[in-house]
Structures are given as structure tokens and as C-alpha cells.
């Protein structure tokens, strides 16, 4: 930050307030409260142990990888409701391609093929949205139907089932699968992927020209185009990125489990959006943070997994999840407003 000359039109402002102005930092308060709640309510039953921590981190990781890409897309002013079914498509495709009875390919090769296909779908999503000028909400809603439908259709055509299991052996042989299923420093690979994806994308957003374009394309596409931002290219790239993130999540799930089913990933699209919003992204685009989306994913995962450790009757599971989400965003919002009333 440049040296600031003091200006009589500025009242003093603390570092703390400056921090809270960052889009993601409000959500940390939500995280603290949610974590605190479960530490108290469920600390005794294993929530605070290493195993418990790993448990929710793993869930957070998968959502977080997705949310990082979805957050970028949201900042870029678009939505992708098809990302959940993309996970299912990628998972099943990868599984069928490597399954000894069908494709029989090494898993690394099928990962590459699947990734290529996912990028194609992402490109198509973006192309369609920009070509038609239709809202991405409705285009990707239709794509969600098409993808999950085609997934069922093809899978049944090939395997007669909607589940592809029994990959175990072909996985064990492939060294690449360690990249998705291994562990490092006691944490599963997914968590490292999460960290990596979040940091890289956050860096892209904040430190590269492309990041600036994302903000521009989301904030006001007309204005951005008028000053020379290649809005089309930016948005298409973001759609492709989102599809790629879905493939990574699918790879982690398939290689971890040795099986895939067509329902995989269902509903993840809304969870990823929720994580991004909790983390400070605006639904209207042009504002948000990748780190925030990561924190949002962590909050959701802690709520989801933490409840199992408490004594709450699980019939009320969803009420708790909803209440916690609401509490977290309200708190986050309130704190941000409290510390800084700059914007209307």
C-alpha cells in the first residue's frame, strides 16, 4: 500500500476495521462462532480430536475446491447450476473408462480424457450464455437436466446399472491416484488440493490482470467491454474452470471410493453458491473473495459434520444446518456493517 497523506476529511480508522472491510474477513467471525458452538456442544464426543478435525476438513475440502471456482464465476457475474451434475458425469465417465470390464484404461489417462470433456462442457456453457445473452441461471439449469439425464442414459446403456463399482485394482496400480487419495502430513490429499486451488485462484483474482478482468466482467459487463476487457473470453474461461474443479472433485471421490454413481454431486451446486455467499461474494457479481468461499465451505462442513457429534436428534439435522447458515451470514454481515458504514 502506498504512503498515505493524512487528510482532514478522513476520520481515523483502525487496522481492525480495515481488516473487516475485506470481503472474506467478516465470514471468519461466522467460522469462529460455529466452531465455538460445536467445540462446546460436542467437544467431549470427539469433534475436537484429530480424527474429528480430519473428518470435517475432508468434507470441507471437496466443497471448497468447487466453491473456489464457483466464487470466481460468481464474481465474474455468472452462475453454474450444472456443476453438481458435472461431478456425477465426470465421476461416472472416469470410472467407466478405467473399469476393467469396460474401458480398461489407466486411471490417469481416463482422468485426462474426462478433464478434456469437462472443459468442453464448460466452454459450451459459456458459449451458450454469451451467444444467446440468456441468463446463465436458466441455461445452466437446462444443462443440469441434460447432463444428469445423459449420465443416466449412457451409464445404463453401457453398464445396465446406475452405479459403477469395483475399480479398486486398477486404481492401486496407478501411481497418479496417490495424488488424489494419498495423505501428506496426516492430512488427506483433498485438503491439500483445496488449499492449493484456493491459494492459486485467490492469487489469480487479486494479483493478475485476468483477476482484474473478472471483477470488471462481473461488475458491469458493458462498462468493462467499453474499456477493453475481453468479457467473453473471461467468462468462458471461468465456466471452463468451474467444470475443471468439478472434475477434480470427481477424481478425488472416484479414486477414494473406487466406485461412482450417477447421483454423485447432486445438490453441490447450491452448496457451493452458499459457501461463496457466506464468504462474501455478491450474487450480482463484481465483488467477493476466493478465500472467503473457502471459509464458507469450512463453515458448512463443520455444521454438517459437527451435528453428528452433538446429541441433537438428527431428525432436526436440516433445521440446524439452515439455522447455522443463517446465523453465520447474519453475524458476518452485521459485523461488517458495524465496523464500517461506508457503503449504503
Amino acid at each position: 500500500m502506498a504512503v498515505r497523506t493524512q487528510d482532514e476529511r478522513l476520520r481515523p480508522i483502525s487496522l481492525w476495521q480495515r481488516l473487516l472491510l475485506r470481503p472474506e474477513l467478516g465470514s471468519i467471525a461466522g467460522l469462529v462462532v460455529v466452531f465455538g458452538f460445536f467445540a462446546i456442544a460436542a467437544g467431549g464426543s470427539g469433534f475436537l480430536t484429530w480424527a474429528g478435525t480430519r473428518n470435517y476438513l475432508e468434507v470441507a475440502a471437496q466443497l471448497g475446491i468447487l466453491a473456489a471456482a464457483v466464487a470466481l464465476l460468481m464474481i465474474g457475474g455468472e452462475f453454474d447450476l450444472s456443476v453438481g451434475s458435472m461431478i456425477g458425469v465426470a465421476a461416472v465417465m472416469m470410472a467407466i473408462l478405467s473399469h476393467p470390464d469396460y474401458g480398461g484404461l489407466p486411471i490417469s489417462l481416463s482422468l485426462v480424457i474426462t478433464l478434456g470433456f469437462a472443459l468442453l462442457i464448460g466452454y459450451f456453457n459459456g458459449w451458450l450464455v454469451l451467444r444467446t445473452g440468456l441468463p446463465s441461471f436458466i441455461v445452466t439449469l437446462a444443462m443440469m437436466f441434460i447432463l444428469s439425464g445423459a449420465n443416466i442414459g449412457f451409464t445404463k446403456l453401457i453398464t445396465k446399472l446406475t452405479i459403477v463399482s469395483g475399480l479398486g485394482d486398477s486404481l492401486a496400480k496407478d501411481p497418479l491416484s496417490f495424488l488424489f487419495t494419498g495423505a501428506f502430513l496426516g492430512l488427506p490429499a483433498a485438503v491439500w488440493w483445496w488449499l492449493g486451488v484456493t491459494l492459486v485462484l485467490s492469487w489469480v483474482l487479486l494479483r493478475t490482470p485476468f483477476g482484474n478482468w473478472i471483477f470488471g466482467a462481473g461488475g458491469d459487463p458493458t462498462a468493462a467491454r467499453n474499456v477493453g476487457v475481453p468479457v467473453r473470453r473471461v467468462k468462458i474461461t471461468l465456466f471452463m474452470l468451474t467444470a475443471a474443479a468439478a472434475t477434480v472433485v470427481a477424481a478425488i471421490q472416484v479414486m477414494g471410493l473406487g466406485s461412482a454413481n450417477v447421483l454423485q454431486g447432486m445438490g453441490k451446486e447450491l452448496e457451493a453458491v452458499a459457501a461463496s455467499v457466506i464468504g462474501g461474494c455478491l450474487l450480482s457479481g463484481g465483488y467477493g473473495s476466493v478465500i472467503g468461499a473457502g471459509i464458507g465451505a469450512l463453515i458448512l462442513a463443520i455444521v454438517q459434520q459437527g451435528i453428528v457429534y452433538t446429541n441433537i436428534d438428527l431428525d432436526w439435522f436440516k433445521v440446524m444446518v439452515g439455522g447455522m447458515i443463517l446465523g453465520a451470514v447474519i453475524l458476518n454481515n452485521y459485523l461488517r456493517k458495524l465496523s464500517m458504514q461506508v457503503r449504503r
Binding site: 460436542a42 464426543s45 470427539g46 480430536t49 480424527a51 474429528g52 473428518n55 470435517y56 475432508e58 468434507v59 471437496q62 453438481g84 461431478i87 456425477g88 470390464d101 444428469s148 449420465n151 443416466i152 445404463k156 453398464t159 445396465k160 446399472l161 446406475t162 452405479i163 463399482s165 469395483g166 483433498a190 478425488i252 471421490q253 477414494g256 471410493l257 473406487g258 466406485s259 454413481n261 450417477v262 447421483l263 454423485q264 454431486g265 447432486m266 445438490g267 453441490k268 454438517q304 459434520q305 453428528v308 457429534y309 438428527l314 431428525d315 439435522f317 436440516k318
Partner: protein
């Protein structure tokens, strides 16, 4: 004129259990040389199901096959079909109400009884504290399986709701439940989408694990003795038999005398798992 039969079930096309039912339907259609259309709502949705049955009736098929998870909700649509002179056979659920609604034959198994059987089996294996993993809370068929299970076991219900599309979430939820309460010594899942992740969650733990319905991975686990049993309704027959019955009824007016045909529950255990594996891969069991 080829015979046309419409099947309306409450289970989604994507569900592994129901995809086997559909395979049975398709095979029967081929074997009997009839045209079959299979319809189902996207989620457990009685309103949609009633609407689908109504549409089926409007399309004037030669016969209809339905599942009846909620007799009250479907009563109007089914009786309308019967009144319109369309022969109806029910499958899977609804054995208790089928006759009252004017259904010719019921092919299936009651969910509650199957759950009860699972519970008794676990009790016999010495299980004292079990959990039931429900991947679609609100689907009455699954509710009844859990209910029967705990009735058979004779313990307080302890249902873990999980999300069907999230294998890691399922795995970790079960891991968390086991960590929280180490006295748990029995786990029941209600389908292979949940069973496969749970297999990982209980790896290395000593407990009795059973599931509803089969999949290649479940059978492999059975043969490796990682699981105690899998309940098999032989749902292939629930799809296959109604078509055969109806084809013969429409063509020749023939009907079995027994108006409830039970297809299960059959228990697959480590002892008999090997012989089913091949069939399972073909989508028959």
C-alpha cells in the same frame, strides 16, 4: 396391434435399486414381445406420481403397472385406471392395499417386513446398538425399512440422515457417529449408494454391517466377509413378473390365483455371495 404397457414407479431412474427393476421390465418386454414405457418422478413425490398415472391412463395403454408407496395418495388415480377398464398390477410396495384398490396382482415385498428381518438377523448376531443410514429422508419406503429394522432389533431408533449425492459426506458422517458413540456395533444402510462409502468408514472396525440391495462392490465386500448380509428383494422379478402376467392376461385372460407374489426378502450372505456376483454385474440382482 402390439400390446402397450405403462409402468409408473416411485423410484428414480438414477437409483441403483430401481435401475434393476427397470432392467427386469425391459427384459420382460423383449421376452413377451410387448411395448413397455417406464415412468417415474425425479424425487419421491406422490403428487407427480399421481399425475404420471393419470397421464398413463389418458394414453390408453393395454395395462398399467404401479408401485403403491402411499395408498391414500394414489388411490384416486389407480381406481380411475381400474374404472377405465385398464388392468393394473402393482409391484414393490402396496401388498396390503392392492386388492382393495382393484389391482389384479401384487408382486413385491413389504419394506417394513424386510427391515424387520434385518433387525432380527442383527439381533441374532449380538448387536445391541445400531444405526440406520437414510439417504433420502422423507421417502416413506426408506422410513419403513428403518422402522422395521429397529423394531426387529428392539432398540431405540437411531437414524443418520445423509445426502445421496455426497459419498464423502456419507462416509464421514458414519465415521463421526462411530467416533461419538464407540458402543455402536451394527450399521444398516438402505442402498448401495450409501453402502459403498460406509464400507470405507467402518474399515478395520469390528461391527456388523448389513445393507439393502446389491451392487458389485457390496457383493465383493460380502465375499470378503466385510459385511454380514445384504437384503435382496430380487427386484428384477418385481419388474419382470408384472409384465409377464399382464401380457398373458391381456392376450389370453390368464391370471395367477395367488394375488400377492412375494419376491423377498432374500438374504445374501458371505456364503452365497459368489454365485450372485455375475448376475449383479449384468444388472439382474
Amino acid at each position: 396391434q402390439q400390446i402397450r404397457i405403462v409402468v409408473v414407479s416411485h423410484g428414480q431412474a438414477a437409483d441403483p435399486f430401481w435401475s434393476v427393476v427397470k432392467n427386469g421390465v425391459d427384459q420382460a418386454a423383449k421376452d413377451m414381445n410387448v411395448r413397455v414405457e417406464y415412468r417415474a418422478p425425479e424425487t419421491f413425490d406422490m403428487v407427480r406420481m399421481a399425475q404420471l398415472i393419470d397421464a398413463a391412463v389418458a394414453s390408453r395403454p393395454n395395462a398399467i403397472v404401479v408401485s403403491i408407496p402411499d395408498a391414500k395418495a394414489l388411490e384416486r388415480s389407480i381406481t380411475a385406471a381400474v374404472k377405465a377398464g385398464i388392468p393394473v398390477v402393482s409391484m414393490n410396495s402396496g401388498s396390503d392395499v392392492a386388492e382393495k384398490l382393484g389391482v389384479l396382482v401384487h408382486v413385491g415385498q413389504t419394506e417394513y417386513e424386510a427391515g424387520l428381518g434385518a433387525g432380527k438377523r442383527m439381533k441374532a448376531a449380538g448387536v445391541k446398538n445400531a444405526i440406520c443410514i437414510n439417504q433420502e429422508v422423507g421417502n416413506v419406503a426408506l422410513d419403513l425399512r428403518c422402522k422395521g429394522f429397529f423394531d426387529g432389533l428392539g432398540t431405540k431408533p437411531n437414524v443418520i440422515p445423509v445426502k445421496i449425492g455426497d459419498p464423502t459426506g456419507i462416509k464421514n458422517a458414519v465415521a463421526a457417529a462411530l467416533q461419538k458413540d464407540p458402543t455402536i456395533d451394527g450399521v444398516l444402510t438402505l442402498g448401495p449408494t450409501a453402502a459403498e462409502p460406509v464400507l470405507q468408514a467402518i474399515e478395520g472396525k469390528k461391527l456388523v454391517f448389513g445393507t439393502f440391495d446389491l451392487s458389485p462392490a457390496v457383493l465383493k465386500a460380502l465375499s470378503e466377509k466385510k459385511m454380514a448380509f445384504a437384503i435382496d428383494q430380487q427386484q428384477w422379478l418385481q419388474g419382470y413378473l408384472p409384465i409377464v402376467i399382464l401380457a398373458n392376461y391381456v392376450r389370453y385372460g390368464l391370471l395367477p390365483a395367488n394375488n400377492v407374489i412375494l419376491t423377498g426378502p432374500g438374504f445374501v450372505t458371505p456364503e452365497n455371495a459368489a454365485q450372485v456376483i455375475d448376475l449383479s454385474k449384468k444388472g439382474i440382482r
